[in-house]
């Protein structure tokens, strides 16, 4: 009889052992998977919202006249482009950002139209994050809908600003905001057009709210930034993502504390049940030896059983985890329920990890089974 058949038959007989093993393993998996699923959903939703409202930190020259700033939508003062690098290097000391980007913006008369010329630097992305927003190569323009309409330009057309030649790489959809009169270009092109070499007038950042929730981020940012970038000031576009991000941090921390304990407890649970199983099957092990079966077969019976249990638990744990995520996730993570969907990636992951983990947990009992003296059990009366 094949090992797998023996394993399945034995499972069928000792249903309690199986049920208890499945119980422990599935619950642990369900916990991890439901967390993972909801945390992923939370991240996705946060990211989407942050993207929708744009960058949420604006760093501008300290000398900016705020009346003009709010009126024009940009600072009329400038600061050094080097600030961008400085800020990027300052990362992790008091904040971590997802993306940093420098801008130089001015009203500009282009062929008789008053456009908002906006030079954008290459985005500096935090490690591991993909840059988002517009990436613009030198020599390219991205134009707003009103610009496109009024100057009769469209994607692919050549264009001329001052003595620089461009190609329109994108014409944007109408947004109903000042975006419609923007002309985006690479920072260095804007600096040349405006004759402001090495200057910028704003750094935009997506902060990732790495500060603890009981501190006011803006206060700390301001005091820290004044050290890092004297001559700059910070405005925070209040991000809706704050509460969400804080909640996630809280859950991350909770999960970080709980998971190791849970995993160890689960391993002990599985190991103990496997040990009971080995104990119950002493006579069978002895007999298999007497019939000339080797250690490999005996190890395969127990490790195999653990692995099969893990496989079943992966499926149950995934289903349970997905269910939990959808039913309690929205409350715990403060996100909308429709953002959560079963994360099939975690099923794949569970189908590999759970059998391995289960077999590893049953390793010591299996070693006991292999080391057992068959003569001892068999001569018992």
């Amino acid at each position: 009889m094949s090992v797998i058949k023996l394993i399945l038959r034995e499972m069928g007989l000792r249903k309690w052992n199986l049920a208890l093993s499945l119980f422990g393993l599935s619950l642990t998996l369900a916990f991890i998977i439901s967390y993972q699923t909801t945390a992923e959903a939370s991240k996705r939703e946060t990211r989407r919202i942050v993207r929708d409202i744009g960058f949420n930190l604006r760093i501008i020259p300290d000398s900016t006249n705020m009346d003009d700033f709010w009126f024009d939508g940009y600072s009329s003062e400038t600061m050094e482009e080097a600030h961008l690098k400085k800020l990027a290097e300052y990362e992790n000391v008091f904040m971590t950002f997802n993306h940093l980007e420098a801008r130089l913006q001015r009203r500009f008369d282009w062929n008789g139209m008053n456009v908002l010329l906006t030079g954008i630097s290459q985005t500096i992305a935090a490690h591991g994050k993909k840059p988002m927003g517009y990436g613009i190569d030198s020599g390219s323009l991205i134009i707003g809908a009103q610009v496109a309409r009024q100057l009769e330009l469209k994607k692919g057309d050549p264009a001329q600003i001052g003595n620089l030649s461009f190609k329109i790489s994108e014409d944007l959809l109408e947004s109903g905001t000042e975006e419609d009169i923007r002309v985006y270009c690479a920072l260095e092109d804007a600096q040349e057009i405006l004759n402001m070499p090495g200057k910028i007038n704003e750094i935009q950042a997506i902060d990732c709210l790495c500060l603890t929730s009981d501190e006011d981020p803006l206060k700390i940012l301001r005091s820290e930034l004044s050290k890092a970038l004297p001559g700059a000031k910070v405005l925070q576009a209040r991000a809706m993502a704050d509460a969400r991000a804080r909640q996630r941090q809280l859950m991350d921390r909770y999960f970080g504390y709980t998971t190791p304990f849970l995993i160890v407890a689960c391993a002990i649970w599985i190991g103990a049940l496997a040990a009971i199983n080995v104990r119950e099957r002493r006579s069978e092990i002895g007999m298999l030896r007497a019939l000339g079966h080797g250690s490999g077969k005996i190890a395969a019976l127990f490790l195999g059983k653990a692995a099969v249990t893990g496989l079943i638990a992966a499926v149950i744990g995934f289903a349970l985890g997905a269910y939990l995520a959808m039913s309690v996730g929205p409350d715990i993570f403060k996100i909308t329920a429709k953002a959560i969907s079963p994360d099939y990636q975690s099923l794949k992951w569970a189908l590999i990890a759970a059998p391995l983990f289960s077999a590893l947990s049953a390793f010591i009992p299996t070693a006991m089974a292999v080391a057992q003296d068959p003569a001892q059990t068999l001569r018992e009366e």
Partner: protein
Amino acid sequence: MTVTATPDSEVKQSTEKNSSPAYEVSGLEKIYPGRNGDVIALKPLDLTIRQGEFLSIRGASGSGKSTLLMILGGMAHPSSGQVLFEGKDLYQMSTGERACYRAQSIGFVFQMFHLAPYLNILENTLLAYHKRWFCSDDGKTPVERAKGILTQLGLQHRLTHRPAALSAGERQRAAIARALFNRPKVILADEPTGNLDPDNARGVFEALQTFHQEGGTVALVTHGEMGADYATREIQLS
């Protein structure tokens, strides 16, 4: 100072005097070291078991009968002495070679049956199946062979039943079927009738006798009087 199983302890004489030896045991001893002194499980023993012999091993409880069978079966290392099976020293073999020896040459029968509770009788018999060594000279599949043996032992109507559904006598016959499956040269039986009533005990002895009549070697540990009638020789451990 070896205590030999001398002729005066051999109540019955072997009728297979001329066949070659299956086992040659010399200076065999098993001692379990313990905190409160060593336990002598088997006192020094010399013994030859010839092929085709039906040997009955008797002795008081604790005299080392089970220990001897285990050593003969390659399941327990002796503390000293050697065991030759067909001229080869069992305990000079590797663990794997001893497992092969059991798989190919030995059938065990125990008092406690040791059937896997989750398998039916047919499947329990097939636990003795080793693909590597299965030799089907009569063209039968392993399942057919197992069914044949079980039928001979009167269990044909019990093939798909689990041990729990069987009487003690039926269980022991199933265990014998399993022992016979690999067509062993030797059956080592340790008080196989210890849990059986006289009728069932007779069935077991008869099965062993049939095996013996077909040329097999039997070493039987037994308490009662009955087994002696089937044996061709008897030794007493003290």
